[in-house]
Symmetry: C2
Subunit: 341 residues, 2 copies
């Protein structure tokens, strides 16, 4: 389907409607929030000029899709919606979508398949799109760059590409991580291990920076041997226990900061099999304030992240006509002291 | 948009394509799974006859929506995706949708708004649709009846309308409830209260039937005073504690069967405030085998329901071409004995 009008027709339509060519494009391509009055004026001008190609005639006849797309990572057998992180963000997006009278189109992205996000707009499946779990890898960057170039409205949640001008809603993970480690230090721990997630997520980099800052400020030397990497799954936390147990027993590690609660809880379970109890034999702090962190025994100290609000804000930026500014947002996080520290 | 062709053209197209009129309708309306070869044959015949109205011409030019719709109840501020029940069913639907190359369109249904499900098909937003949290109320019945009459493919999950011929994937809640109560009786409990959900859900009726059967079999008289109703939320379980606490203390109730884990956990919390501990001062069994039921302390005895598989099956019935039978499925559930019984 032909996305663009010829320059001539667009210019003529713009002139008659008394708007810019860019506005005409946005209306004809159904991209971005636009005042209903402007939209009607442009469509009327296009009709009056009889300059509307057939493909577009169809589009006029139809309402825009009415869908906001949410691109999600897909991992077979993983119950995606049952993870606190995605469940909360999606709930927030859903709340905003409902308020703005949009439906939610979920698109599962397979890890190794090509990422043609722009196609979702070209085929009119979505009017705007939110990308969750984006990673700093080549295909992702290319797919996002294409969206940006084509002027399609999209927003990233919990992932920044600082060098690009992408619309983003993030949380202040550097400060959250700093506060968590500072709390461990204040509780008397000195040999604090860090179980981080993969580096392709900006939040992992942010948390590493916060960890380093807290140690530096307390004059504790950074030791690469205390930095571990998991993949944010409970299993990867459980497996990290194998690598940490002996070193906790011989006091080379006295506390752990885990980059999310799932890994922290997996680690707790794993270390328990070695006879080590969180809050007794070692300090432990997680990250996210998931439901599980509140229910697990002992209750997990953690950092609360407003995932629901992040999702809601991202959707409001894209869908609401006036209420939200189209600029980046970084929301604050909050330390929650419980039984493991 | 005109959904139907005139009888003449449909008949002619059917004759030329060598298929039934019903098949022609299904192809032209983009309804239901259909062999690609058949679809092409029908479209070709329609084109050859030059008998294709304009609205349909557009549809031919476009691929079908490629979306499977999921209709969900919407309650403001409730983090829907964070409830185990919906999260699991949606994960299963997502898995099947991905396998069949469909995207998931989530449509939030407000409790008191009109339910025009057929419009989703008329406006080509979806090719098939799954209804979650359907209730046996007048508007719901009317909306589903319209889908059925128009021949749009849809499937209900965890809700039956026995008198109608709707495609359904359910679990055997009568037997699950029976087994749960039987287990309480076998553990020595005799004055077993039942905290059920609202009667508009078939699962509530099924569980009541199972509760009654187990009591009858054990010769325990049914007492209306031991039957309580919540709304499946944790809060409603917490509130039920107020109505039960005194009666547990004076032994008028010695155990509770709650119709889901959320209510059971809320009840546990509420009764704890009255100094009553599950598994010690009273027996308690929940239903669902949610993540929380495994993590809470004491660990909650419960009945495991294959929600993920129910969602997956429903989507496969609608989307897969050959693998699943288009008939109703009732999946088995399983008793899990833990620390509260």
């Amino acid at each position: 389907m032909n996305r663009r009008l010829s320059t001539i027709s667009r210019k003529e339509v713009a002139k008659l409607a008394g708007v810019s060519e860019a506005t005409v494009s946005r209306v004809l391509n159904n991209v971005g929030p636009i005042k209903e009055e402007t939209r009607l004026r442009v469509l009327e001008a296009a009709r009056e000029l009889g300059y509307v190609p057939n493909a577009l005639a169809q589009r006029f006849a139809r309402r825009k899709s009415g869908n906001v797309g949410v691109i999600l990572p897909f991992v077979p057998k993983v119950h995606l919606f049952s993870t606190y992180y995605f469940a909360e963000i999606l709930s927030g997006i859903g709340e905003a979508a409902k308020a703005c009278n949009y439906d939610l189109l979920l698109i599962f992205r397979e890890p190794d398949s090509p990422r043609d996000y722009a196609k979702l707009f070209r085929t009119q499946k979505v009017d705007a799109c939110i990308v969750l779990g984006a990673q700093n890898v080549a295909e992702e960057r290319a797919a996002l760059a294409e969206l940006q170039e084509e002027g399609y409205p999209f927003c990233l949640v919990n992932q920044r590409f600082d060098e690009e001008g992408y619309l983003t809603v993030d949380a202040d993970h550097e400060s959250g991580s700093y506060t968590a480690v500072q709390h461990l230090i204040a509780s008397g721990f000195k040999r604090i291990a860090f179980l981080n997630g993969p580096g392709a997520f900006s939040s992992s980099g942010d948390r590493l920076a916060g960890y380093e800052r807290a140690l530096a400020e307390a004059g504790i030397p950074l030791s690469e041997e205390r930095i571990f990497t998991g993949n944010y799954s409970r299993k990867s936390g459980f497996e990290a226990a194998e690598r940490m147990a002996e070193r906790i027993k011989n006091k080379a590690i006295d506390a752990v900061f885990a980059a999310n609660d799932r890994m922290a809880i997996g680690l707790m379970d794993g270390l328990r099999e070695h006879g080590l109890e969180a809050g007794k034999d070692y300090g432990l702090i997680g990250y996210d304030d998931s439901d599980s962190s509140r229910i697990v025994s002992p209750k997990l100290s953690t950092v609360s992240v407003p995932f629901y609000e992040m999702g809601r804000r991202a959707a409001m930026k894209l869908l609401a006509t006036e209420s939200e500014e189209m600029e980046n947002t970084i929301l604050p996080v909050q330390l929650l002291k419980r039984e493991t520290t």
